[in-house]
């Protein structure tokens, strides 16, 4: 199915958010995720089902002021 991940279109096979991270090789340990503008906590990802057209944000720690 086709999803928007960090603003970019992706064709993916995964059906949950945890699997999507593995499929797209987001293998960092410190990730924050949101689906369609709602927080998905790290422990909730395996149960977070994905649907066609979903928007996923994957963020990590970065420098900030």
């Amino acid at each position: 199915m086709r999803l928007i991940v960090n603003g970019e279109p992706h064709e993916i096979a995964a059906h949950d958010l945890d699997a999507l991270l593995r499929e797209l090789e987001f293998d960092g340990e410190w990730l924050a995720t949101a689906l369609n503008g709602e927080l998905v906590r790290s422990h909730e990802r395996p149960l977070c089902r994905l649907n066609e057209g979903d928007r996923v944000e994957i963020l990590t720690p970065r420098q900030g002021g």
């Binding site: 991940v5 960090n6 603003g7 797209l24 090789e25 987001f26 293998d27 960092g28 340990e29 410190w30 990730l31 924050a32 995720t33 949101a34 503008g37 709602e38 927080l39 906590r41 790290s42 944000e57 994957i58 963020l59 990590t60 720690p61 970065r62 420098q63 900030g64 002021g65």
Partner: protein, 257 residues
């Protein structure tokens, strides 16, 4: 000692982690500043990348308190979601709340700021709101549950220093017991000393240190100025006078004529 939501902090300088020439220089600046609190952000990760992990490992090795921000957010929804994501990653309920209202000045949208602060404090966050120097906004933020306020003294990254001393003095005077950190717009150590001499509790810096020719040395200079301003305020400064007053006693002066 500085009290921030129940935490005791010795250093009165908070330091941002952005724009340094290298991670090594950042680490050195953090060390010379003596800061115990550093600010961080969340940004998109690249597929297959571990940029966030590398940065976060380095930050964790420094054993400082981390204050995540919502930099770049322009709406309540963006800011609240970013704060929630930050809490999930950084495992802290502290959040430096920024809701930007204008692209040119990066001044906060104070209406959205108050609304976001209310939502986040109700959700258990300890909010550090980046605000203007407006008294009414301060009052609304306190009503929203904020225990710390962070007024700007000039636009972010401008290095202009305190532009409205009267407004800052009014804030301090109206809320004498509220912890207030001057955030944004400081350019040089004398600016830090000037706002601390008004009675503010701490300052938050980034660009003025990161963009100095020698960031580590500048971080040290700011730390000294911040402490000097704080000590001066509490020592009770002499107010300016319109006439000269001799410091050497007049009585006992020799008369030679």
């Amino acid at each position: 000692m500085l009290q921030l939501y129940g935490k005791q902090i010795t250093s009165r300088l908070l330091l941002g982690t952005a724009q340094y020439p290298s991670p090594a220089v950042l680490k050195e600046a953090i060390a010379t500043s003596g800061t115990e609190i550093i600010t961080v952000s969340l940004r998109r990760e690249m597929t297959g990348g571990r940029t966030g992990d590398k940065f976060w490992s380095m930050i964790q090795s420094l054993s400082r308190h981390v204050l995540p921000n919502t930099a770049g957010c322009h709406t309540v929804k963006e800011a609240v979601l970013t704060a929630q994501m930050a809490r999930d990653v950084f495992a802290t309920d502290w959040i430096k709340l920024e809701v930007i209202g204008n692209h040119d000045t990066l001044q906060p949208d104070v209406f959205a700021l108050v609304e976001a602060a209310r939502i986040l404090t109700a959700d258990g966050f300890k909010v550090f709101p980046y605000m203007t120097d407006d008294l009414t906004v301060a009052d609304r933020l306190l009503g929203a549950g904020c225990e710390v306020l962070m007024p700007w003294c000039a636009p972010i990254g401008s290095a202009m220093g305190p532009l409205n001393i009267h407004a800052l003095r009014s804030l301090r005077g109206h809320f004498p017991d509220v912890t207030m950190i001057v955030d944004a717009g400081l350019g040089r150590p004398s600016h830090a000393a000037a706002v601390m001499e008004l009675g503010f509790d701490a300052i938050l810096l980034n660009t003025a240190v990161a963009k100095a020719r020698d960031p580590a040395a500048m971080a040290g200079a700011f730390a000294k100025a911040t402490e000097a301003g704080y000590a001066a305020y509490h020592a009770g400064m002499l107010e300016p006078r319109d006439v000269a007053v001799p410091s050497t006693p007049v009585i006992g002066k020799a008369v030679f004529t």
